[in-house]
């Protein structure tokens, strides 16, 4: 009961903050459209490239055209939905530097929630439905069972949980160390390597992408689930990684908060 009330409360707060973010985003409609066009251009060109590449070579690390494009689409789901939900993380550092984070700490809401999900990025909201439609049509080429689809969706949510864990960890780094803003871009660049099947990469990069920044767990494993290529223990280990990731990152956030000194306010 209490949990439901809390969920409702944060749902309402998220809706209000996102509405404000949308108002700010569409203040300049031309900018909004240009950004959207830029993202669509980048996405379309890379899909074209993958198509012609795999058509010309036959396969990529053992994956055919459909499988390669599906992995790329899954990467886009994780990347774009993550950016849609957690865009506020990119705007968090100025709050710490200016001391405005104090104003967030005194409110009767979770400061982590504000820092993590304080304003959705609505440019991505326009691309997400199209992405899911394309994902559906490409995914149907594998003739998946209902179980494969459900596991895929479960692992996709797990991938988003790992994304959330990384963003929470980065927020903690901002609070604790101030100067480590490059970690966010490093995470984005490593995640970008998930555009391709992790099998393409050689050691030790492959180990980094499997164990350290679990890009394989976030992207390649869910995609393989849709293709019916993931074992039961593969699913269990992936979910464990997601769960442990969230718990550790939240612990780190609490630890980091103890060191916030409000030095600039």
């Amino acid at each position: 009961m209490r949990g439901m009330r809390t969920l409702k409360k944060y749902g309402k707060i998220w809706w209000i903050m996102s509405r404000n973010a949308l108002s700010a985003a569409i203040y300049s409609k031309l900018s909004f459209l240009i950004f959207l066009l830029g993202k669509v251009v980048r996405f379309s060109f890379f899909v074209l490239f993958l198509f012609y590449l795999v058509e010309g070579t036959g396969n990529l690390a053992g994956y055919d055209i459909n499988q390669t494009i599906f992995i790329f689409l899954t990467f886009n789901v994780i990347d774009i939905v993550g950016q849609f939900l957690f865009r506020e993380v990119y705007r968090f550092k100025p709050l710490i530097l200016s001391g405005d984070f104090d104003l967030i700490l005194v409110r009767p809401t979770s400061s982590l929630f504000r820092g993590l999900m304080g304003g959705a990025d609505f440019i991505d909201l326009f691309t997400i439905p199209i992405l899911f439609v394309v994902l559906y049509f490409v995914g149907m080429n594998f003739h998946p069972q209902v179980g494969d689809v459900l596991i895929y969706l479960l692992l996709l949510i797990n991938g988003l949980m790992i994304t959330a864990a990384f963003h929470i960890f980065i927020l903690g780094l901002y609070v604790r160390f101030l100067e480590l803003d490059y970690v966010l871009w490093l995470y984005r660049d490593l995640l970008n390597l998930g555009k391709l099947p992790v099998g393409v990469y050689k050691q030790p990069l492959r180990d980094i992408l499997v164990y350290l920044v679990p890009v394989a767990t976030m992207i390649t494993v869910p995609a393989r689930a849709m293709m019916g290529l993931v074992s039961f223990w593969g699913v269990i280990v992936s979910i464990l990684i997601g769960t442990v990731g969230i718990l550790v990152s939240m612990r780190f956030w609490k630890y980091a908060l103890r060191y916030y000194t409000s030095a600039s306010s």
Partner: protein
């Protein structure tokens, strides 16, 4: 007169290294992008005797390594800052000074390119030792000279194109970053910075060659690899030269028109 522009270059050089973590992140991003492309093609050419899209293993991996250095020379530019300066009204400060605005930014560009290129060469050398790719060394003097000339022209073409896009705030004051983002998204792909353009069918390639984008990265590297020789090399040099001169005229014209519209909003 030249002294003041070299001073601009020197100060810009120092400024570039003032924000070290930002600089390191930019270099890391370039290196990680090279990793993605390197392993992709390494996987495609896992059979060393394979030939795809007219490349063998040595040439395609040379293309990838060439990307790291050529991108640093061509695409490391400060011209994107111009739009913010026009939008905020800071341009007024520059107009009051006895210095050519476009020339000023060109010399700032040179220092940025110099630093990024120096680091790119070191990174390429380290990656070469770690990854041990087969490397195609061009020995034909015409190809090497053609490559270097095209590189210089590519530098100027990219600077001019980005400067043109950065002049948009003269008319649309709030459009600072979005047009630049769109331009960079398009140029990154169409210049061959993500993948060689011969992956596309001939029909698409013919359309792309009508634009200046392939002359930024793809064509210079093709010349180095010896895939563009003889009359084709001459044609490429002339086309790049045409774009360079055309864009210079365009920048000069747009600059004059822009100054008429400039209202120093934000000041």
């Amino acid at each position: 007169m030249r002294k003041k522009y070299f001073s601009v270059c020197r100060i810009s050089f120092i400024q570039e290294l003032a924000y070290r973590s930002k600089f390191v992140v930019e270099r890391l991003q370039s290196v990680l992008q090279v990793f993605l492309i390197f392993f992709l093609w390494d996987s495609v050419f896992s059979d060393p005797s394979r030939e795809v899209f007219g490349y063998d293993r040595a040439k395609i991996l040379t293309y990838v390594f060439g990307l790291l250095i050529v991108k640093a020379i061509v695409a490391s530019t400060k011209a994107s800052d111009v739009s913010g300066i026009i939008s905020s009204g800071e341009l007024t400060n520059y107009l009051l000074k006895p210095i050519g605005f476009v020339k000023y930014w060109f010399f700032r560009d040179i220092s940025a390119r110099g630093i990024h290129t120096a680091f790119a060469v070191v990174e390429a050398a380290i990656l070469f030792v770690i990854l041990k790719p087969p490397f195609f060394l061009q020995t034909n003097l015409m190809s090497v000279v053609g490559f270097l000339v095209l590189l210089v022209m590519a530098m100027i073409i990219f600077f001019l194109m980005l400067t043109l896009v950065s002049f948009i705030p003269f008319w649309l004051v709030e459009q600072t970053w979005p047009p630049i983002f769109l331009f960079l998204s398009i140029s990154e792909v169409l210049s061959g910075a993500v993948f060689p353009l011969d992956v596309f069918p001939e029909a698409i390639q013919k359309v792309l060659y009508l634009s200046p984008f392939p002359y930024l990265i793809f064509i210079p590297i093709q010349v180095y690899l010896g895939k563009v020789v003889g009359m084709e090399l001459i044609r490429s040099l002339l086309t790049a030269g045409f774009w360079m001169v055309g864009l210079m005229i365009a920048v000069s014209w747009v600059w004059q028109r822009g100054l008429v519209h400039y209202r120093a909003e934000g000041r």
